[in-house]
């Protein structure tokens, strides 16, 4: 009973308390501004889904802040007015989990693949080629998430990689593949999917267990909780799942 009263009170507060025009509702229609903080690797998928939600609800304006997961976590902790947070890193989300309304749920997964320049000039076939000092190899530095994941893959495979450069992020590693300056790099499947025809992916069976899981949650202090819920539902719908799969994500 107490819970019901509290819930009702919350609804009343939500209905009349917010007066800054961010969550104006008209006849149950979503409106105002929805602010989504999301990991940079979600840029393409989420932008499309946001456009779709806006076209379904003409009064709604969806704003995105795409950045690294640790930067997003910091911004949310510092009180940034976000409605939804989608992270590429479960650990980073754990740090802000108590700011969420409900538990975060994993909605997508990303795995590492070998990226090679179109045509695979150095004839790279698998992870063992990345331990070949004669080949020019780019990996992410151990300090950034893709580098930590790569280290786990090599550990599991019992290989010592022979990188020529340890890149500051996954896109920098991919750029060097696109330019043909390295023979191969270990990057995320989604990055290869986004890079187009200049880059080819080689599946890495050894990487199957090293998975980056993407959690998603509505924030407790979301200025526009209804729109936030609608966006999360869209991401988890068949449409959302299809868009994620097309972008190279695995679905849990």
């Amino acid at each position: 009973m107490k819970r019901l009263v509290a819930g009702a009170l919350l609804l009343v507060l939500a209905g009349c308390g917010v007066d800054d025009g961010r969550s104006i509702e008209t006849d149950g229609e979503l409106g105002g501004t929805l602010t989504v903080f999301a990991a940079a690797s979600l840029t393409d998928v989420f932008t499309d889904l946001g456009d779709q939600l806006e076209s379904e609800h003409p009064g709604l304006d969806v704003q995105f802040n795409f950045a690294g997961s640790s930067a997003l976590a910091t911004q949310v902790t510092q009180g940034a007015p976000a409605d939804v947070l989608a992270s590429a890193d479960e650990e980073q989300l754990d740090a802000v989990a108590d700011l969420g309304a409900g538990d975060p749920a994993v909605f997508a997964e990303n795995t590492l693949v070998i990226a090679v320049p179109a045509g695979n000039p150095a004839d790279v076939r698998g992870l063992a080629d990345l331990a070949d000092a004669g080949k020019s190899i780019a990996l992410c530095a151990a300090e950034v998430p893709c580098g930590a994941a790569a280290a786990r893959v090599f550990d599991a495979a019992g290989l010592t990689p022979a990188p020529d450069t340890l890149e500051q992020d996954v896109r920098a590693a991919l750029t060097k593949v696109q330019l043909g300056e390295v023979d191969a790099a270990l990057v995320y499947a989604t990055d290869v999917a986004a890079a187009g025809s200049a880059v080819e992916a080689i599946e890495v069976p050894e990487a199957a267990d090293v998975v980056n899981r993407y959690p998603l949650m509505v924030l407790e202090r979301a200025p526009n909780p209804l729109a936030a819920r609608a966006f999360v539902d869209l991401v988890r719908s068949d449409t959302g799942r299809q868009a994620l799969a097309d972008a190279g994500f695995r679905l849990p």
């Binding site: 640790s70 020019s136 780019a138 530095a141 300090e143 950034v144 990188p163 020529d164 450069t165 340890l166 890149e167 500051q168 920098a172 750029t175 060097k176 330019l179 043909g180 300056e181």
Partner: protein, 280 residues
Amino acid sequence: MTHPVGPKSRLWPQRQGRGGGVPAPLLVPALLGVAFLVLPLLGLLVRAPWSDLGPQLARPGVGEALRLSLVSATLATVVSLLLGVPLAWVLARSQVRGRSVLRALVTVPLVLPPVVGGVALFLVLGRQGIIGRWLFEATGFSLPFTTAAVVVAETFVAMPFLVISVEGALRAADARFEDAAATLGADRWTTFRRVTLPLVAPGIAAGAVLCWARALGEFGATITFAGNFPGTTQTMPLAVYLTLQRDPEAAIVLSLVLLGVSLATLLLLRDRWLGRGAVT
């Protein structure tokens, strides 16, 4: 001849000794300027984990990165001097047509985001680059991801600072000394060596310092073109950036080390070679 005294310096010698104070319209903005430049440094000093200093410095790779930074920045400055001083002379003294276009082209690296500069270097000197491809096919040598690539990237970004400084010094220098040398029968090369160079030496020194400092702090072009590998291409700014991803406090310590070493070097050089009161 090493200390040419122009007519101007003879006119204003007593000025420095006068304790007239700085006029308020200059003093207030000047103080604001100092605060703006120094406060962030103060922030680093305040936040630095001083008790951690020893262990952080002893970490493997720190000494290596520092040594690599100093060596590559110095080499980049040497290359910049060898190419940049003649270039500045051409811009300031010669009658070559299209000098203003040339000057604009030379300053491109100043406005180019360094990361873009790194990609541009790939397109010319990389394994698939216009020149690099030919080099790779002929010799099997590929420049990216080598220490030489660090020097190339730093030179690309830092040399314009030297060129601009030296060109300014050349323009400000009194050309009548050169004319006098010419009337005494010196050819242009001799005039350049015996008259022009000593005349603009403080300007060259200032440009070299600026160039060295810029090369020492270079990040974007280096990490793009030379990559990042400890001992080969990981300079201090790269080490600082990557440490920042995991351990911000350690990154602050590394920044302070770089800052301390560079300030000490500059002060030492200033005393040693530039003498007191030199233009820096």
